[in-house]
Subunit: 136 residues, 4 copies
Amino acid sequence: MTPADARLRVRYAETDQMGIVYYANYFVWMELGRVEWCRAAGIRYRDMEEQDGILLAVAEAQCRYVQPARYDDEVVVSTTVARAHPRMVIFEYRMTRPGDGALLATGQTKHVFLGKDLNPQRLPAKYHFKFGIVKV
Amino acid sequence: MTPADARLRVRYAETDQMGIVYYANYFVWMELGRVEWCRAAGIRYRDMEEQDGILLAVAEAQCRYVQPARYDDEVVVSTTVARAHPRMVIFEYRMTRPGDGALLATGQTKHVFLGKDLNPQRLPAKYHFKFGIVKV
Amino acid sequence: MTPADARLRVRYAETDQMGIVYYANYFVWMELGRVEWCRAAGIRYRDMEEQDGILLAVAEAQCRYVQPARYDDEVVVSTTVARAHPRMVIFEYRMTRPGDGALLATGQTKHVFLGKDLNPQRLPAKYHFKFGIVKV
Amino acid sequence: MTPADARLRVRYAETDQMGIVYYANYFVWMELGRVEWCRAAGIRYRDMEEQDGILLAVAEAQCRYVQPARYDDEVVVSTTVARAHPRMVIFEYRMTRPGDGALLATGQTKHVFLGKDLNPQRLPAKYHFKFGIVKV
């Protein structure tokens, strides 16, 4: 599957006194990336949560920072699914700045599917194909 | 009632590239202030929400910025209740820096009591005295 | 001058356990609104800060919350300048949800112009017309 | 060296609509952890930045989420230095909830020392011992 691209512009609120984006905010951008990936795959994350009661809880997250993003930069978050099972999914991210083509950061998040009670739950079959799960 | 004091230390994440605290974060500090006020009044906000299903939704918020807070500053948020009814409460805040006695900001938030369905709900009588509501 | 419209989509990070957007985040949205107002007026805020060393420090901020915004809502922040002098500017905001036309919140921020040393500084004349300052 | 413990209480602002702490906020807590580690080692991070012009830029960050933290939980961030060179330092974190002894998360951040121009810079010798760098 081709990566899904989410575009954002760096907010003043996201900078810190180093004059660059505070490191935790890249994880917020990864959230925008995976929501966009879902949208491109025909999944509205909000509906999956509200209608099917499936939550995508984060089990692991990591980021490698290559070049700092700055206020007002346009940033593209390219997201792919590296692996998916009925119990978990791994997203991978590349964050770039189209203005100069710079690679800003790469990241990965691993998620488990939970029910509204926050207990593990298998992803309903109707979502398997969309997540690229062909055989369980 | 005497003001309740919440103490906090400015986080790096709370600064922006101006080298001072980003203005929206003072509203997060007000939250710490009113939670501390509740605690001093014998109300654990978490319990009020979980056990009685009462939410304190913000209807209005304002802040006047006097002197900028900086990274690693210790800040005291002194909170009082300016007015309270069974349907709403108004908190007032003074944010100071004990290090040099500087007044950093003053603020006010007006809240309405809601049920878990986010509809307005009267504050249960057992909380009236704690909020200083003497007669309804 | 007609209002400038900034569009955004509510991030998961912006919600709280009440299931709605945490109140401090509306002030971040106002930031997006005034940056968009500047852009529409031919001012790139980043350049004003970097090249002319002019900072727009917040002196006062207020918000009135009408209806709660929720995760994944599209929100429009319509921004106007209510008043401007060479020493300060007041922005006004209306936040609406185009999906159902709901008014979510209104707000106002008052700013003073500062130099990089965080001392008050008059707005350079070249910006006066853009801010609608006709006579000083 | 023994771990340094930073204590914090979960803010309402840090929760999301899942009813638990939003995952990016654990990285903010790691910041509180390493600042506390520095303090315990006799380093005031603010002074290192202001007086010596040394910035601790994040090169890599990761977190493994074990149990969700909730609003008003008290959380302890225990921080150690796993490795240090004059050019970089690796911090490790264990986040626990003393209330029930639960392990909430573990994490790691790798930092490079930069000058104010954001270019790599060797850590001044006076800090070597404090970071446990015995021989360069």
